[in-house]
């Protein structure tokens, strides 16, 4: 939007509208402070530790696990749309050519000015960062961590090496790898709901934890035992398991690595669908 459109009457209108919104929101927040109704969250909090010691991950991936699937989808769609604007998957009508598609050229930047020391330490730093990201995703149920964070940390490692090395990036994520890992992540997350759906009819029921005793014990062994820990809590010692939560988070992490990596890739290196591209490899096209 052209900022000059906001001068004059329109600008005044916009300012008045913003003022009304601000006053309305602030007065409500003041009224709510100290009076927030806990509602259903009491029940959530009482039960959360039965699944995972990090109750935030129980909230996000068990009670509200399906919300998180769609949030993962928002990231996926955001990446696909951003890259589509750059040029991946533009379509035309066959009967009509119209104007040529808008193409965005890659960013031009120089890497010569960076010191040798930075280049020398770039890759080891990035590898340590990637390891840290992986640590974060494995610790989702036992400590603060999760798929979103892992994805963002790994993508930031990718951005770091991109800035240090330019086109000769040692973290050599290809287009196909990024699209594939992003899709595999979202698909994997969604597929984790299937076992619960097939056994109980509830999509994404946490089979491993099985709080409500809906499935046979064999499923506890398959989905729960690999992540079972003995928790020493105030309430006593529990041999509890987060069930499918770690798997969901790996899907989440893949999705975020793919999505954010793809956005970095497309904005920095540009996008072209030339025949030499990886994406057209093996594809017959029309």
């Amino acid at each position: 939007m052209d900022p000059s459109e906001l001068r004059g009457k329109r600008g005044i209108l916009a300012a008045v509208a913003l003022l009304i919104i601000f006053v309305g929101m602030m007065s409500s927040l003041v009224k709510l402070s100290g009076n927030v109704n806990p509602g259903i969250s009491q029940v959530y909090n009482i039960l959360a530790f039965l699944v995972a010691p990090n109750s935030l991950s129980t909230w996000l991936y068990d009670w509200r696990g399906f919300d998180t699937l769609l949030e993962t989808g928002v990231i996926y769609v955001g990446a696909v749309v951003s890259v589509l604007v750059i040029g991946r998957g533009m379509v035309r009508m066959r009967c009509r050519q119209g104007e040529p598609p808008v193409q965005s050229p890659p960013l031009e930047y120089k890497t010569e000015s960076l010191t040798v020391i930075l280049k020398y330490f770039g890759l080891p730093t990035a590898m340590l960062l990637v390891s840290y990201g992986i640590l974060v995703v494995t610790g989702v149920s036992t400590s603060g961590g999760g798929g979103f964070q892992c994805g963002v940390i790994v993508a930031s490692a990718y951005l770091l090496t991109t800035i240090f090395y330019g086109k000769k990036n040692p973290i050599n994520f290809g287009k196909r790898f990024l699209v594939g890992i992003g899709s595999a992540g979202w698909a994997g997350y969604a597929l984790c709901g299937l076992p619960g759906f097939l056994t109980t009819g509830y999509w994404q029921y946490n089979l491993g934890a099985d709080l409500w005793n809906l499935v046979a014990p064999i499923y506890h062994t398959i989905f729960g035992d690999p992540f079972r820990l003995s928790l020493a809590l105030q309430e006593g010692v529990f041999n509890s398991t987060p069930g499918i939560i770690p798997l969901l988070n790996i899907g989440e992490a893949f999705n975020v690595i793919g999505a954010i990596g793809l956005i970095f890739f497309a904005f920095i290196y540009g996008w072209s669908d030339s025949p030499a591209d990886q994406d057209t490899e093996g594809g017959k096209g029309e």
Partner: protein, 515 residues
């Protein structure tokens, strides 16, 4: 809503099949044949699931509800209890709306996979996600999930519009992205306020809490939440004052894409409108605000449509103005008005799709859709001209087409609540729709071709690039048009086929105009 089943299979499939289809076609990217088969099979399976499914609930992640009276957990959806899980409901209204959307999805997928060039994967994926977002919004009974679905829905709109790759599409897409981010944030604030006030993100639970508890001084928070809800409603449906933004989106996408976009947008209007009616319908002045926005949208949209000289843009503005018809019914909130508004949503989606697919067919004559360049097409394609004229009749509410049936219900209900002004506006809208559409259709189809300045083509250099060669119209496009025209006719003669699906919801939600 007395169905007690809380693990209905169809709801999960209606949501996840589009997700998997999107992922697969996006990965296939340029293998058009595989994309075509996979997407057609998925879309057809969605239609079948919608028809076969019984009614009921799906509690995602399988958490029970806590009965506050006995303090026990239950999986029976008919018992009023605080839901721990995310709740979706599939009932008669959902069935008919999702069926119409799935039908259009099948037709659009058929047209897109035949009529577009290579690398269709991401675009077809976006079309599936349009369906998914609309299906979720109409089924979900949870404020938080409603917000996420609105977010994903508006992002996908951006994708569908930007995929055309033309400057105008990209500009419209980016503008819409900016403003829809604002509306998403508004909805998030609204849900945060309601969540803070009640503690429940399940809409039925929140309403039960509001009705059973004395809110005293806190009730002003409801008004603020209502304001933010209105904001997102306006953005979702392109109501006044952002109608130019949404019309740009409709005009810049491919016509078949617009058919999906308008279907999604109408489902969103209905769903958010019903939620608003349930949550805020009894607040004084709430419905008056909604009604005035709707009436303004009808009038401004149709006036803008009169000014256009391109069929694509005439339709873009008409879609927005007809959204106002749907919302008039929902804002009035009485039983009759709700039936009329919901029925109008179904009819609107159908007849606008006829017109949009006809508009797509006009492109095959190689002269664009401007009334100045494309003329005399009726001679080459008489059946197409007939379909367009019938579509115009349906849109202008001429019997025996479906548009007539819903408009007459709306007019009667407006008169019943003592608002003859609204009835008059609806009548004016019908007449003006006819004028705007027929002006465009007359010059494109019926005006004799010899009056065109074809011989002096050098004098219109700007249109020269549109001057591609003529291509035969694919049979699938004709078939889609025929199916849709027949449905508009059948619904015009037997409106009860749809109306019996709408009455349960109208009964449950309706509020008398002067309580």
């Amino acid at each position: 809503m007395t169905e007690s089943i809380s693990n209905l299979w169809s709801i999960a499939l209606l949501v996840t099949i589009p997700i998997f289809a999107t992922i697969i076609v996006n990965l296939l990217f340029n293998r058009n044949r595989a994309i075509k088969y996979i997407s057609l099979i998925s879309a057809l399976s969605l239609v079948v699931i919608t028809i076969l499914s019984p009614y009921g609930f799906q509690w995602f992640t399988g958490q029970p509800a806590l009965n506050p009276n006995t303090l026990t957990f239950t999986f029976d959806a008919s018992i009023p209890a605080w839901r721990m899980a995310l709740e979706f409901y599939f009932g008669p209204l959902q069935q008919v709306l999702i069926f119409v959307m799935a039908l259009i999805l099948v037709l659009v997928i058929g047209i897109a996979t035949n009529g577009l060039t290579k690398n269709q994967g991401p675009y077809i994926g976006m079309i599936f996600l349009l369906f998914m977002s609309a299906a979720i919004i109409i089924m979900v009974n949870d404020l938080y999930h409603l917000w996420i679905a609105v977010e994903i829905g508006s992002l996908v709109v951006v994708g569908v519009v930007a995929a055309s790759g033309e400057g105008i599409g990209q500009k419209a897409a980016l503008k819409y992205a900016l403003f829809s981010a604002l509306s998403g944030a508004g909805l998030a604030i609204a849900l945060a306020l309601i969540l803070g006030l009640t503690g429940y993100s399940n809409i039925s639970d929140a309403i039960r809490y509001i009705q059973t508890t004395n809110l005293a001084g806190m009730s002003s928070i409801l008004y603020v939440a209502f304001g933010f809800f209105i904001l997102s409603w306006i953005y979702a449906g392109g109501l006044v004052p952002i109608h130019p933004l949404k019309s740009e989106v409709y005009g810049a996408a491919f016509p078949h894409g617009t058919a999906m976009l308008q279907a999604q947008s109408k489902l969103m209007l209905v769903a958010i409108g019903l939620v608003m009616l349930r949550l805020f319908g009894s607040l004084p002045f709430a419905r008056e605000v909604m009604l005035s926005i709707s009436v303004l949208t009808m009038m401004l949209g149709v006036v803008m449509a009169l000014l256009q000289t391109d069929l694509r843009w005439i339709l873009a503005y008409l879609i927005v103005s007809h959204s106002g018809l749907v919302t008039v019914g929902i804002s009035l909130g009485t039983y009759d008005a709700l039936v009329g508004g919901l029925f109008q949503a179904v009819n609107d989606v159908l007849y606008m799709s006829v017109l949009l697919l006809g508009c797509e067919a006009v492109y095959y004559f190689g002269k664009g859709t401007s009334t100045k360049t494309a003329v005399g097409i009726a001679k080459k394609a008489p059946w197409l001209a007939l379909a367009m004229v019938l579509g115009t009749f349906a849109a202008s509410g001429i019997p025996p087409f479906n548009g007539f049936q819903s408009k007459i219900i709306l007019i009667q209900s407006a008169l019943k609540v003592g608002l003859p002004e609204v009835a008059v506006v609806i009548l004016i809208l019908s007449v003006t729709t006819f004028i705007a559409l027929f002006r465009g259709i007359y010059s494109i189809f019926l005006k004799p071709a010899e009056t065109t300045p074809l011989a002096v083509s050098g004098s219109v250099p700007s249109e020269a690039q549109e001057d591609d060669k003529e291509t035969p119209i694919p049979r699938g496009l004709y078939l889609s048009l025929a199916i849709l025209v027949v449905i508009t006719l059948i619904l015009g003669v037997y409106p009860d086929l749809v109306i019996r699906f709408l009455t349960p919801v109208a009964q449950a939600v309706s509020i008398p105009w002067y309580p």
